[in-house]
Symmetry: C4
Subunit: 374 residues, 4 copies
């Protein structure tokens, strides 16, 4: 068992490690880059790269979801974002792209997201993605699942994503009838991805709901303020490794049901992606990195869903002066900068080759090293 | 028992953790925000939020103490501050609010606080707060308790706060008759809050004086220079957890006397508050966060009591360009910035809900995680 | 055995220490600086200082390789660098020296290195170095060893350096016939240096190929981006100490074959050099420090080989306003700045004297101390 | 025994703690400031404060040594500094005070210190200090002790300080007859202070030479570059605690000979001083803090002796825009800034009172706490 720390008399704390704390250790074998596969399969759906888009309005429009799907990843549209609140959000997105004062940006986000969600727009957006010929995935929040999921499902999606900052298998409420994830998922005949979660127990309970995939982490990056506002910070290397232990135990208790782990947080560079997968994730959920593509709907602006919360926003707002490159260049290069933000999956592939692994499942066993002194 | 560190041959040191080192770990359950209670009760006094004002002239005037009381917290006026030295300190406060040179600020504070304390003003200030219809709490220093407490008590307060940087149950002096806290408190029939203290032993001894509440910490924030000047630094997560162990042991040795822990230090954001309570505190003492309200008497200026010491000032002086919001907005939102400085107790409430806890006593058991590598 | 860390349930990571984490502890004896020897011998070749040049175009031209050899170190020319792609690369080097925009620098490097390698230029460059009367060492990459090594060997070198970012004794490829290092080295009658590697296992396997020297590390310095792009970061103190254990075990399993360890990475100052040797290295490979000499071909510009990769560059580009001093002054002083960048081996010598050691082999046992808290 | 760290297979390192890592923990008792004594006695000499001046030309002239002595500390003049090389160094000191380019400062220091030492000036300087009516202490380097000590002793000093960066009881030299400290000290009838040293073994051996005091540390502060140039860094809390263990063991092996520990390094503020004494030092050696006094000969400029080394300078050069205050104000206040640089020993006294200790010997047992995570 893990060695916990006694931070005060009788009060224990777990030790957590961030992806930045971790590095990969090559094995005694190396491989050709061309012999390495980054393929990923979730249920019946195959992907060239283990890349799921963070369902943020800054990255995912119907059009960019199609682009990502065609490139071999999985686009996810937010059923509760601007595309389902506004007939044409492009002016708003352009306005956000040009904001430069962070304080007023929060207020503007709060105003913009105060508009109600229109079910007919959900149907329309799903139709647009489906016409692109790619796997269709849509995100709803746990709070609105019972209301919005029927609309989403009727419109015909391939994968449903139920995602909130922190999602548990057991939500307690004295007011409303809470969502019973297990019953809800059992009634569906499509794969569901659910999360985020931060630890072994919650991950295991979410796996037991019948989800095909569990999101690990809360999407935190340098723009996130969950730690400052809520006191919640998720060291992703530990969160992923703990969830991988839950995946192993769930595999055992079910006699073979494999639930995919999708890491969401601390992911900026190809090195981060390699570390997340090396710690045990099956795929990564990318937000800000995709917001820097020429296809990104908000032209380089980036914010978290929680950044628009009407009373307790939790996320800063940032803009980029110009895109880094096309989505294809961001995913597959060629890179003309050495900072790991371009050719994300070429970088992953090369890391796997240098460490000596052929595919992602093998790569989950790569050696790890952490800095001994902070 | 805790594992100490041998810093040199035969010389041990305890390991201490700061609130910033700690984060909360959600449990496998989540709750509705509206089902969560942040209520706190000290002796017969009930509070909507576990918020005690740091008795600083920068935050507490008679008027702002009333405002805080009406909002559901506990205002505390300093019986040895400007309001009891000057008939009308508003000009001085305005002058301080406009100072911008830190070095000269220290000298100006030293001059301003050289004025003697006037007992009749103590009586007058207490009357003003009482007229506001809120719980009346006043702070005296241990050195002046024997002289000033009678004035304070005669004027009629509900709660007496005896607070110095470091207070012990056993002050040794060859010159004066020192304050015997145990005898002093036994003679009173009102609840006394006493502190600050930094460790298990001192906390336990302070509890044995009969105090209703013990202040844990020395109020340190980024403006404090106790570490630089005195070599004393208090890792608050550890100090709170150690004091909570003392609370537990005192509960056992007395067969049920529960002494409240009021955390004082490292508290800037709602996340910090959630962490302090999660480590075991019953309430938090807020200084600088309240100094940023429109009701703050020094209009955004902030300094510690020790910053005006005539020979050994220990605390920097800071000013804010404009207030963050009303005291109500600071405590309860809505926030229009994502940095955890607004809606402090809405943030606490949401943290409790996301972690799955109903009330503050339950929340003291929330899971904790620390960064494994600095 | 080393105590590993459980970063998540069942997932272990090794702890790694950087040279910056480590410091030398003097013994109870001190020595005269003039009694200390920094001499190093690899196979039949003797060197005044344990200094091998990083085979970078920024530091090594045929001329500067000769200069370093005459000063008592080992120059190494890159057989795959600009000097073997261009008849006269001096204009390109001058252009690089004057670049100041990092982003465009990467693109320019990519263009410049797209030019093919010309075997006749390899022969010519080797001839130039040989005429200088120094030990001739040339670097080839593992990928091009089978093609280029015959050219290099025919041209007559003393030491062959087979160096890539990560080299293993077992490269797996489905496309080409991979290089079998063991067979390749067995057929040669000159000493081979091979690397880099990052851990005990790979170091031991590389030693078993018959190499005379093994490069430990991946040349990382502040311009390297291997961690960001690939997730690979090498804490050098640990990598060197682990490789020293492999050297010890290889010595035992072979009954006396001593393989030299050449540390490559984290080396900027004389203090860094002393630490690397104190951790167990036999020699150091210097890149950027030599790029600051007046003899450096790129006049202060510095980049890694991997910085010019056509699709996945891994290394930033830097320029210096003016050289620090001659190569002699950089190696042997006198220093007129106190930052450890001049008189590198005078600094080493003095460190050895103050710690009480006579020669490099003894110095590998020097006491070490690390910072207890990050 | 202390738990060492295995930084690589079979390679151990000690853990070291800096004063900044450590903080004092108050006991359950507090005291009046006026009941606390900071008195220190070395051999027959009594001091009001445990303050020894670093023998630097930046702080110690004959005049400032007298000033410090009259204030209750111990001034130490460097017999190998500017005052013994130049009849009147005041112009040079003024020139140094006005230098602002660090690189040229090193070269200028090298030039200025190239001048030979004049024995007659040593005699003259000692006479000047003696006339001031204070305890006379002079520093010589180990290398020049045999040559210069006779001059110093004939001129009549009270305390001899033999100080180099690293001094051992066993200096090995093939060239000169090395200084045998034990024999040398045995022949003297005045107390000798010797150092610096960095660890238990060296401290114990230096104690066995018969020294009255041992200097712990190498005087490192933010201007020192020993780590960068030599790879030697001394975590002072550990060095002091280890030397205190040597003092204890030496006391036992000699049946009662108490050797004083003078901490030299990491000392900028009153908090640092309190920590050094709390870790076990008997006194502190102050350099840069005294260089900021109005009496400092170089008017705020500061450099280490090693900063003028002709071939391997190890120390940066800094200047201050204006003095902090008189030496009296620096030592005893009143402070008008809150950063711990004024009223150094008033700060110490208050720290002792708040922690509950009466004198320095008791205070060596004060509780310590270190930051758990870097």
């Amino acid at each position: 068992m893990r060695e916990d720390v006694e931070i005060g008399l009788g009060r224990m704390a777990q030790r957590g490690y961030h992806l930045a704390d971790v590095a990969l250790v090559p094995s005694r074998r190396t491989r050709d880059v061309d012999d390495v596969s980054t393929g990923w399969q979730l249920d019946a759906y195959q992907f060239r790269v283990p890349c799921v888009a963070h369902p943020s309005d800054a990255t995912m429009s119907p059009a960019s979801a199609v682009t990502l799907g065609r490139l071999g990843g999985l686009g996810v549209l937010n059923a509760e974002g601007l595309w389902t609140r506004y007939e044409d959000p492009s002016k708003l997105l352009a306005e956000l792209a040009s904001l430069d004062d962070e304080a007023s940006a929060t207020r503007r986000l709060q105003e913009i997201y105060a508009e109600p969600i229109l079910p007919e727009l959900i149907v329309e957006r799903i139709r647009q993605i489906r016409e692109g010929g790619v796997t269709v995935a849509v995100r709803v929040s746990p709070q609105h699942t019972l209301k919005l999921a029927p609309v989403v499902l009727d419109a015909g999606v391939d994968i449903l994503v139920i995602q909130g900052t922190i999602v548990s298998a057991e939500h307690v409420s004295t007011a409303d009838e809470p969502l019973n994830l297990k019953e809800f998922i059992a009634d569906l005949d499509l794969p569901v991805i659910v999360g985020g979660c931060t630890n072994y127990q919650t991950a295991l309970h979410l796996m037991r709901t019948g989800a095909a995939g569990v999101i690990v982490g809360i999407g935190a990056d340098e723009w996130s303020t969950s730690d400052t506002v809520l006191g919640i910070r998720v060291p992703m290397a530990t969160a992923i490794a703990d969830a991988a232990a839950a995946r192993r135990d769930h595999l055992d208790e079910t006699g073979g049901r494999y639930v995919h782990l999708i890491a969401d947080g601390d992911l900026q560079t190809s090195g981060d992606i390699a570390k997340a997968l090396g710690c045990g994730a099956d795929a990564v959920m990318l937000g800000e990195p995709l917001s820097m593509s020429t296809e990104a709907p908000a032209q380089g602006a980036w914010w978290h869903s929680a950044a628009s919360h009407p009373k307790l926003p939790r996320g800063a707002f940032g803009t980029a002066s110009e895109p880094l490159g096309s989505m294809e260049q961001i995913l597959f290069g060629p890179a003309d900068r050495p900072d790991g933000t371009l050719n994300l999956f070429g970088g992953l592939r090369r890391a796997m080759a240098k460490c000596g692994y052929r595919d992602l499942k093998e790569f989950q066993r790569v050696g790890l090293i952490i800095d001994g002194t902070g």
